[in-house]
Symmetry: C2
Subunit: 237 residues, 2 copies
Amino acid sequence: MHTYKYPRPSVTVDIVVYGYDGGKQLKMLLIERGGEPFKGHWALPGGFVDLNEDLETAALRELEEETGVKDLFVEQLFTYGAVQRDPRGRVISIAYFSLVNLQDHPAKASSDATKAEWFLLDELPDLAFDHSEIIKKANERLAAKVRYQPIGFELLPAEFTLGELQQLYETVLNVESFNKRNFRTRILRTGILEEVGRQQNVAHRPAVLYKFNQEAYQQLAEQRDGGVLRRALDFEI
Amino acid sequence: MHTYKYPRPSVTVDIVVYGYDGGKQLKMLLIERGGEPFKGHWALPGGFVDLNEDLETAALRELEEETGVKDLFVEQLFTYGAVQRDPRGRVISIAYFSLVNLQDHPAKASSDATKAEWFLLDELPDLAFDHSEIIKKANERLAAKVRYQPIGFELLPAEFTLGELQQLYETVLNVESFNKRNFRTRILRTGILEEVGRQQNVAHRPAVLYKFNQEAYQQLAEQRDGGVLRRALDFEI
DNA sequence: CTACCTTTGTTTAAATTTTAAACTAACCAT
DNA sequence: ATGGTTAGTTTAAAATTTAAACAAAGGTAG
């Protein structure tokens, strides 16, 4: 038992993980809750923060415990602390956000969660707590992020074509399709792509395969104003 | 006394408030700590969250208690939870962020704080806890925010000239001076300004006075992609 | 009252960038 | 060989941006 002079809230983390498999829609990783409250409901992976671990560490630990998904980068999304958001009492939750390649991150339930599954974004079930609100914010963040940071590094296979990269952008931005010629020239001029070969065995002119140039990608990701990239994508969006 | 089955962290809020008075630099509101730890050191206003108040409410309450500053809009910045960030034990702090007009928000110390003062941004003293890190993040957020949201509503007097608005942008972005003619046309075409009269008694051609068009301003502030505004400012930055 | 100073505000032509049409290339299947 | 399909290039017209030159509206000094 632990005793304090003043009352204290519980603190949890929740993790919003987007997965991509090359298709026209993103997926999201959810768990089915094995305990009360909301037993049997779907929810974001997450749980209580240990006193001797940092917040991000807690997020990664809970995610792996509940879904088996690991080896990913997370970024902080928002902290939810409405007085009544959890029926167990005052619980403040720091939400995290991540993008992964679906092939490398299968979901397998364990411990607290009875199931862990990838859901298509427009087929999400009803969610426990205020998790719908968290996901709404995450969607906004993702749409905003795309505009000032490069995406793809975590979502695509190591080598990919410009067509695949464009498909990803169209998926994330939920746009029909933007001009292929211009996407090409603009993305290439950012310098984040490096040619690594050509497609094999396709029934048409083989596309050039690219990989991300780590250094240029990193630089774009860090410059928070996103000038080059924004200008590169500021069309048809 | 309050007893729990598992240990719990303390939860605080910290508030980064920027003030503007028409000059070439922004100011920031700090307090001198009246109690341990870091007694006598300067720090961001802030304090413990009550269990029956929302996070934002706690931020506004602590700010008013410590500095007398009230009636402002805050937005969440980031949550700091490193294990060793506070010598008193595990303390997780949700940082908030705000912009105010200095004329309307004088600082007057009270309660926990012995002093409350506005500091020029490049003359900040050494700070308690990890507050320097918080301010660094706030500065980044401010610079990023300017690019996709209109600013000025909270920072300028009700009526102002285009010159004053431009001065503000130059101050916030920390740029020398950008093209006056283009600033004019770009800002005007966003439709966020409304003419309300002319300057009086100035030793030169009097400038037109503007106020923000609430509706148009609000709309720009909400559309998270910031298209119009970004294009309006994407020059010389 | 006049000349002049300062800052505001407008017009516009040249430079740059964007857009998308037309075209060319590469591969497989039949 | 021919056709189907997707990849990739060239380029001229359209749109936008940039900044030079200029005009306007006050106050002030003599």
